[in-house]
Amino acid sequence: MTSSNNSTPEPVSVDMRKSRQEKYDILIEGLAEDLYRFACWICRDRVQAEELVQETYLRAWKSIDSLRDAASAKAWLFTILRREYARQFERKRLQVQDVDDMGELPAGKIGFDTSTEAFVLRQALARLPEDYREPLVLQVLGGFSCDEIAETLGISSSAVMTRLFRSRKQMRELLGEDAVRRNGMGA
């Protein structure tokens, strides 16, 4: 079933016969924005997010010869970004754990929509267990298929589908979506 998922945007096409620099440029032009938005979500800070994206690309440059399959370029870059984040910011994240627990998002600082509805949505998302939240963000924000998410997270596609199912179910519960529909209060 996962292979039938067609929700991803236009895939980035990397011609593997091109030179290192050409391949690298395509990866930047095609994926830097998606990476930046994902980095903003996990770092919750624009400056750190940009730093993380730049580090990710530097690492990608160093190991671009190991990228053999053009179709997996996006998942490959996101995997590097996640590892780089874990390496660089894990200590910092632990230090600000209290703030994260409180659900405080420096929305204005990041440039997020500051409306009440958007705030409530982000807080609901922040309250999901990390195992459920990350696949959902990768799918909704990054446009990844289940197979790509599986590759990025290093788990099976069926496990990804289970997590996505549970994450959306929990989001609907947290936001009262099902209750609203049941009570006929929704649009």
Partner: protein, 252 residues
């Protein structure tokens, strides 16, 4: 494909294009509506997370590739972890002594600033009289109150909260640059409108009353922050604070 299987796929792959999935959606109105609500929620999440990307991001990545690759290697060699460890230890010894006194002083200052900001915000709100225009369905107001407080880590028990009276207004707003997002509610009190803020931050400790201008106020520390309750003189603030304390369970 039956409805249960359809909804399971809807929640895990809303963009699924398999024939049997699309076929079921075309045949079953309930499931089509359900799939639409899932897609709508995804769109809202995407919009809530979408941030503007700097125009020159790509250029800076390329520049960094050229300029910093070598420098990064040299810095990595120099920035050995033990140097930071030593510096951090020294800093800890020096600062620990003054920390306790500072903590008490900082809490008092924080409380003072918070009450001033809250009263100022309330004064402006009353001048505008924005909330009077709202005549929303009480059930919707209660749901919105629950959603907003849930975003701050509070689980509202509706039956208990009903004692607080009519909720005129509830939103997330900015009280000032110091405080980040703030839950802001207005309820109908005995002496007129009562404004309630929930602000993350340094906890004020025990319940504190204050008076500023024509307002009475009360601070209630719960969860990871404080409620600041502001009403006209003679308002039943203690009773409102009691209700808030009893009706909301906090995730700490």
């Amino acid at each position: 494909m039956n409805c249960l299987e359809f909804r399971r796929i809807s929640l895990s792959e809303p963009g699924n294009r398999a024939q049997d999935y699309l076929g079921h959606r075309n045949q079953c109105e309930d499931c089509a509506r359900y799939a639409k609500s899932v897609n709508d929620l995804d769109k809202k999440i995407e919009n809530a997370l979408r941030v503007p990307v700097p125009d020159d991001l790509a250029a800076r990545i390329k520049l960094r590739q050229v300029l910093l690759a070598e420098q990064d290697n040299r810095m990595t060699e120099w920035l050995r972890p033990w140097r930071f460890g030593l510096a951090a230890s020294l800093l800890l010894v020096v600062t620990l002594g003054g920390l306790f006194g500072y903590e008490v002083h900082a809490t008092n200052q924080y409380v003072e600033r918070l009450t001033v900001s809250a009263v100022d915000h309330t004064r402006i709100e009353r001048q505008g009289n924005h909330f009077v225009a709202e005549h929303a369905d009480p059930a919707k107001q209660m749901l919105r109150f629950k959603q907003v407080l849930a975003a701050f880590g509070g689980n509202v028990m509706e039956d208990e909260l009903a004692a607080i009276g009519e909720i005129l207004h509830i939103q997330v707003c900015a009280l000032g640059p110091t405080y980040g997002p703030v839950a802001h509610a207005v309820i109908r009190g005995q002496q007129g409108a009562v404004t309630i803020y929930y602000v993350f931050g340094r906890k004020a400790g025990s319940r504190k009353q204050f008076e500023r201008g024509r307002f009475d106020g009360m601070l209630l520390s719960v969860g990871n922050g404080n409620f600041t309750i502001i009403g006209n003189r003679g308002e039943r603030l203690s009773s409102i604070a009691d209700t808030l304390e009893q009706a909301i369970v906090w995730k700490i």
